[in-house]
């Protein structure tokens, strides 16, 4: 049901360590390269953001925990490159051959970088089901919090908010459903809502009676309360 990335509310992680303001230091050169390779290969168009997120989440719990941030990115990218057939296991092991690669034409070239980064990939869609909930309406999140299309699949309802009662705060429009999109089952767009949960709905010892957590949740994650 859950995976290791779903860590909201977890105990035992220790202090948060602030850093200087401004543009963050990217650390060792390999980290910047890892970021760049991930963005550049993403531009080949063989996967979407939900597929790449799920690739990171599917790392074994041992790897997810011991890897630093960009190590997770690189490991998940290597897995995706093989799963999509862009590289073979032999390529990873032996350094790759020079066999013609049909997607070369799609490779992100230097002059196109600014344009591709500026374009982004909007997640809103036209169509989909009509809105079932209105601002101010009480809702409850589904429980358990798993993907309903694919066992062990990607979902964006964190476990800590599963089964909780909240209130619709705003409607964001109709967005691609990650539970479907991550598994190449189509965009399956649905209304997306910001839902407000009182901290006492989520935690045994809330810090303050008026504190809230807001989550962006798709219509199929919610039922009337």
């Amino acid at each position: 049901m859950t995976r290791v990335h779903d860590m909201g509310g977890r105990f035992g992680d220790g202090a948060v360590l602030p850093e200087p303001q401004g543009i963050p230091d990217m650390g060792p050169e390999w980290q910047a390269r890892a970021l760049a390779i991930t963005l550049a290969t993403g531009a080949l168009g063989e996967w979407n953001i939900d597929i790449s997120r799920h690739a990171r989440e599917r790392l074994s719990p041992k790897d997810y925990t011991r890897f630093t941030y960009y190590e997770k990115w690189v490991a998940a990218l290597a897995d995706l490159l093989v799963e999509t057939g862009l590289l073979t296991r032999d390529d990873l092991q032996s350094g790759g051959d020079l066999a013609p690669e049909p997607l070369v034409e799609r490779a992100l070239r230097h002059p196109k970088v600014a344009e591709v980064l500026a374009k982004g990939a909007p997640a809103d869609r036209v169509g989909g089901p009509t809105e079932r909930f209105a601002v101010g309406q009480a809702v409850r999140t589904r429980r358990p919090a798993g993907n309903r299309l694919c066992p062990g699949g990607h979902t964006r309802l964190p476990t800590y908010a599963s089964g909780a009662r909240g209130t619709i705060l705003r409607l964001h429009g109709t967005h691609v459903l990650p539970d479907s999109s991550a598994h190449r089952l189509g965009d399956a767009p649905e209304p997306l809502y910001a839902v407000a949960f009182p901290a006492r709905q989520l935690w045994a010892f809330p810090e303050h009676p008026d504190d809230e957590v807001i989550l962006d949740l798709w219509q199929s994650y919610l039922e009337p309360a």
Partner: protein, 205 residues
């Protein structure tokens, strides 16, 4: 289907040491013609030198200076910041949330590391850390204390967990004693962390 029935993930075929691992992957992909090393340099330059929290600070300073801009920003931030040239990857859908004496906003992504790149650049390490992801939703006030921020008990905290493709920017309260400052001087007071909600803007010296 998730392909995790296979314990032997392909990534284990690469060298284990991170720098060698990334170098190996870049070499293979370059040899195949799937990445252009000059494009990688350009991506890195973009996020190391050009896109960063100065963009968000510009937006905040405008909101502090111009009530009609502030109103439009709170109603439809995506359009308003796009008009200033702040759009693109990881900023396709932007919502700005305003701090008031009664409510402090703070942003996290418990499931990964979602962050408004066109306005703030790439996230700092702490934003991506397990500690922040795990704790910000459950004990935001303790986390804020670790950033040196103490809120009054009259101020409620709203933590935004970025679970979808909407990216949140906090509009902090304008500091006292800034009446005569122009937009550039105001922007200089806006820290990155104050737009994530783990900090407050600087006071004028």
């Amino acid at each position: 289907m998730p392909h995790d029935h296979d314990p032997d993930h392909p990534h284990t075929l690469l060298p284990p040491e991170p720098a060698l691992r990334v170098k190996a992957l870049e070499t293979i992909l370059t040899r195949k013609g799937l990445v252009d090393p000059a494009a990688l340099d350009e991506i890195i330059d973009t996020y190391q030198n050009r896109i960063g929290p100065q963009n968000g600070a510009d937006v905040v300073a405008r909101a502090w200076s111009d009530p009609s801009f502030r109103k439009a920003l709170l109603e439809d931030a995506t359009t308003v910041v796009a008009d200033l040239g702040y759009y693109g990857r990881q900023g396709e859908h932007i919502v700005v949330v305003e701090n008031t004496p009664e409510r402090h906003n703070m942003v996290v992504c418990t499931l990964c590391s979602c962050y408004p790149w066109p306005l703030l650049g790439i996230p700092p390490g702490w934003y991506k850390s397990d500690a922040y992801r795990a704790r910000a939703v459950r004990e935001p006030r303790k986390v804020l204390a670790e950033f040196g921020v103490a809120l009054s008990s009259d101020t409620a905290v709203r933590v935004w967990d970025s679970t979808a493709e909407v990216r949140y920017l906090v509009l902090p309260m304008r500091p006292a004693g800034t009446d005569g400052l122009d937009r550039a001087a105001l922007a200089a007071l806006v820290t990155r962390d104050s737009m994530i909600g783990t900090g407050l803007p600087q006071s004028p010296s």
